[in-house]
């Protein structure tokens, strides 16, 4: 083992910028996922087949195929369509498909959206009937009922599952390293391996960085959960819901 070589300023800088890229990918993908999944989750939980079936088809396809295929499909596939190539020099928003980072983020964002939709839709369906009936008795419209009664409690109940999704997404961002031009933590390790020929050291360093990020996120999520679910806390101190990562099963 030769970790000395890894402690060169250039190498450390490469890993540091990799951490930045990984966190940027994670933040943008999660943000897109949260924004997109709200309306889609309401549609998915709707009683109207016309609304719920298209969303069900979307989540079925995105959750049933590897993220790697989705990334390649957007990065290599969309860019090779004549229709897109005819437009990407001038027409908004097609010019963005020239950028590897944008293509990767499209795939990541849609992927996490699909998982988040199912999480939130499940939480919406579990809303106690009494709460909905009471709101109806007050004369709330369906939109008000959704915004004031159903969503605030459903989103809180979806939190433990969402914490898992955040961790899985952090690990999924490593797939960005297969896209040319994106140097995230894994990409930095690939670069260090290529220049030093020290695979153990290069990838163990990357693995340690991911471990630290994972534990930091788990702690942060646990703190958020404790605050958001304070009303469900039992006298013993634990919340009334199942504990989240690192002990939870891996969702498909």
């Amino acid at each position: 083992m030769d970790f000395e070589t890894l402690l060169q300023p250039d190498t450390l800088k490469l890993y540091a910028s990799g951490i930045g890229v990984t966190l940027e990918l994670l933040a943008v993908a999660l943000l897109a996922g949260v924004v997109l999944s709200m309306p889609l989750a309401v549609a998915r939980a709707s009683k109207s087949r016309l609304l719920s079936l298209p969303v069900a088809a979307f989540t079925f396809v995105l959750r049933g195929t590897p993220l790697l295929v989705q990334v390649y499909l957007v990065y290599y596939g969309v860019a090779q369509l004549d229709w897109v190539q005819a437009r990407w020099d001038a027409v908004w928003p097609w010019m963005w498909f020239k950028a590897p980072l944008f293509c990767t983020l499209v795939a990541f964002g849609l992927n996490t959206t699909a998982y988040t939709v199912e999480l939130v839709a499940g939480a919406i369906r579990e809303t106690p009937h009494g709460e909905v009936e009471a709101a109806q008795a007050f004369g709330m419209t369906r939109a008000t009922l959704m915004m004031r009664i159903v969503l605030p409690s459903a989103l809180r109940r979806a939190l433990p599952g969402y914490g898992n999704e955040v961790i899985l997404m952090l690990h999924a961002t490593s797939i960005a390293s297969v896209v040319p031009g994106i140097v995230d933590i894994t990409g930095a390790a690939n670069g260090v391996y290529a220049t030093t020929y020290l695979p153990f050291e290069a990838y163990i360093a990357a693995a340690l960085i991911y471990l630290v990020l994972t534990f930091a996120l788990v702690l942060a999520l646990r703190w958020i959960e404790r605050r958001a679910l304070a009303h469900l806390r039992r006298p013993g101190g634990r919340t009334g819901l199942a504990p989240t990562a690192p002990d939870d099963a891996h969702p498909a």
Partner: protein, 229 residues
């Protein structure tokens, strides 16, 4: 559209399935051993199994795969050279198929361990106590009493892990295995119809996950015969 590479791409399905099934067998075995170790009354196996589950699940599978594939090659070379094997080159090349399958099996063993641990805990303690009182050895208690009864509880998590594992096999294309994913990428580059070939690959993965979901649901129902709601 240029579809002439379709047979070349479809020929990769077998390898994808072989990697997935091989990794499934290895990870199931590892998962059972690690779950039993986590529930052991001895401190050492418990600590080892906890470290295995926590470390593996805190690191992306792609990083572990690259670590084991490239790092493993160097480790093997070092061992081979120390022993004086490997002929003139002084090295033995690791087969990418073995590397990919073993790596995926090793990674998903940690996830299966969690599933099996929960399922083993769902089997009433009285069952194993009774078996011990009958004079069975600890191994017999595990294989004859606990394992058969935990299947029902383990199946939902098992299904989940299998679906994630199938999708993860796409990563072996990164270490150069000519699986479905690798061939789709090559065909897309050669024919300039990448969109078409990646859609084909996605459809095949979707078919594999859908069929296994239906099959495992049927098995689950079979294992719930005679269970009162």
């Amino acid at each position: 559209m240029n579809a002439s590479y379709l047979p070349y791409v479809l020929a990769g399905v077998g390898l994808t399935l072989a990697v997935a099934v091989g990794a499934l067998m290895l990870s199931t075995l590892l998962g059972i051993v690690a779950a039993a170790a986590r529930l052991s009354s001895h401190r050492l196996p418990r600590a080892l199994a906890t470290a295995y589950a926590t470390l593996i699940r805190g690191v992306p599978d792609l990083v572990l795969m690259l670590l084991i594939f490239y790092g493993g090659q160097i480790a093997v070379n070092a061992i081979v050279q120390r022993l004086g094997w490997g002929g003139e080159t002084g090295s033995i090349d690791i087969d990418p198929f073995v590397a990919g399958t073993v790596t995926l099996g090793f990674i998903y063993g940690a996830y299966f361990a969690e599933t099996f641990r929960g399922a083993m805990l769902a089997v009433p303690v009285g069952q194993s106590e009774a078996a011990l009182a009958c004079g069975m050895s600890r191994v017999q208690v595990l294989t004859r009493i606990v394992l058969p009864q935990m299947v029902r509880h383990a199946l939902p998590g098992f299904t989940n892990n299998w679906l994630v594992l199938v999708k993860s096999t796409a990563l072996v294309s990164v270490i150069g295995l000519t699986d479905l994913m690798y061939r789709a990428k090559q065909a897309g580059a050669a024919s300039r119809a990448a969109f078409f070939y990646f859609v084909v690959a996605a459809a095949i993965y979707l078919a594999i996950t859908s069929v296994s979901m239906l099959a495992l649901r049927a098995i689950e129902q079979r294992h719930h015969r005679g269970v009162r709601a």
